[in-house]
Symmetry: C2
């Protein structure tokens, strides 16, 4: 008899966040679930790894079809440690999320949710990052769960190409119109710091800012899909080489 699919769940908001609990609940009947997630918030940790101190983990809960671990590391550490030390076979799917807050456009470069999906992909497992465009601790994840579950089922059946992971973002609205396959919107954050003072009167800087797209939004931009009431699904590559520029770069460095 074929084993049930093995699904690894992680996130960057911590093992107690509503998003990861909702995700675990909605995927639970699709396979054997292992939750291995940070012991607290790790938002904005990107692909960070912990090397200067050791990492450790502890078992939180074990019941039929669901085992939950908590880890003191980053989202990437969680994926690495689960695959190196916990799982007796390679998972069939890694889902990271559901993140409290969108990871569209260039947020892929900062997001711990996506960091975990990248790591899963590097380790050869079909991997998805799922985010809801709301930072509310008690956000409504129902549409996000519906679409995330649909996507997870398809990927369990069809797989993904080597070196490609998925970035799903879902708007927090009552009825999402569907999933649109998109590309990453080009842009940057502006006005990124709020200046304040610490108790000693020294200036300190809190990260804030708002996203500004580099050119008017066009069809295919993930940000436009979200603004239009769709979930955006961006396939992303581990290989970030700019192949188109290689020849010109050769000219540029010539003696």
């Amino acid at each position: 008899m074929k084993d049930k699919p093995l699904i690894l769940i992680t996130n960057d908001d911590g093992v107690d966040a509503k998003g990861i609990k909702e995700l675990t609940g909605c995927l639970r009947d699709l396979g054997e679930m292992i939750v291995f997630a940070p012991d607290g918030p790790r938002s904005g940790m990107s692909g960070a790894i912990t090397s200067l101190i050791p990492v450790k983990y502890s078992l939180i809960k074990k019941e039929t079809g669901l085992t939950v671990y908590s880890c003191n590391g980053t989202p990437v550490d969680c994926v690495k440690l689960a695959l190196n030390d916990i799982l007796d076979r390679k998972p069939d799917l890694i889902v990271s999320g559901i993140n409290h807050g969108g990871n569209m456009a260039i947020c892929v470069h900062y997001s711990g949710t996506i960091g975990a999906a990248i790591e899963g992909c590097i380790l050869g497992v079909p991997s998805i990052g799922i985010s809801l465009t709301s930072h509310d601790k008690n956000a409504d994840f129902s549409e996000c769960c519906r679409l995330g579950r649909k996507l997870a089922r398809r990927i369990l059946k069809e797989g993904l190409p080597d070196g490609t992971y998925l970035n799903l973002n879902v708007p927090e609205i009552q009825e999402v119109k569907g999933i649109q396959v998109c590309h990453q919107t080009s842009g940057r954050f502006v006005n990124e710091y709020m200046r304040s003072e610490n108790a000693s009167g020294e200036p300190v800087y809190w990260l804030t800012g708002s996203f500004r797209n580099s050119s008017p939004l066009q069809s295919g931009d993930d940000v436009l899909a979200l603004d239009s009431g769709y979930a955006s699904l961006v396939p992303c590559k581990i290989d970030v080489t700019d192949y188109d520029f290689m020849q010109n770069l050769n000219q540029l460095i010539k003696d």
Copy 2:
């Protein structure tokens, strides 16, 4: 009179590392230098940003043509804070490094050195990450400086395409044969943890491991160039969308 080029230097080994000092020294006559770097080691911080606590910085040194700041944040925080709060104009170049340790192949996804270069690129500045394939605190950076300086001069003159940054890795050998434009080698780390115990007898895990390429090295792989005595130069993209897979993904999620 045209201003001298403004060059921002950062790294992930901290403002006191040999690598950043050697880099600053060898680029110094090319422009006005601002060093804005972490106050200690931030290796493996990838594109991490600090949002749960505030960041702050302090002036370390100011002399003709060179100003040095130290910051409690990540490499990305350093780039963001320098551009948002310190510099009165956009720099002409950002150089991150010289890292103590190579950032070839998939290390782009973990490296704080590269995180800073990505951030510079997002903010619209030609950006380069430079790494030496030695973790030795007292490594010999002379060949790395020679090639890094050559590259920096070219980029100051020619610029880079929007959305593309450079990843230069240099082997620590007496005479590097030159720079080869390469692509990112595909692979992963294996045997990633050394298990140990803390003082309470609990198991803890130290990150370690060795790189294994997914297929035999071929011409154009950055790892092969380094093994052959060349410096590898990989142009990398901010837009990580897998455009080739978009159509198939559309089929895959169809109802």
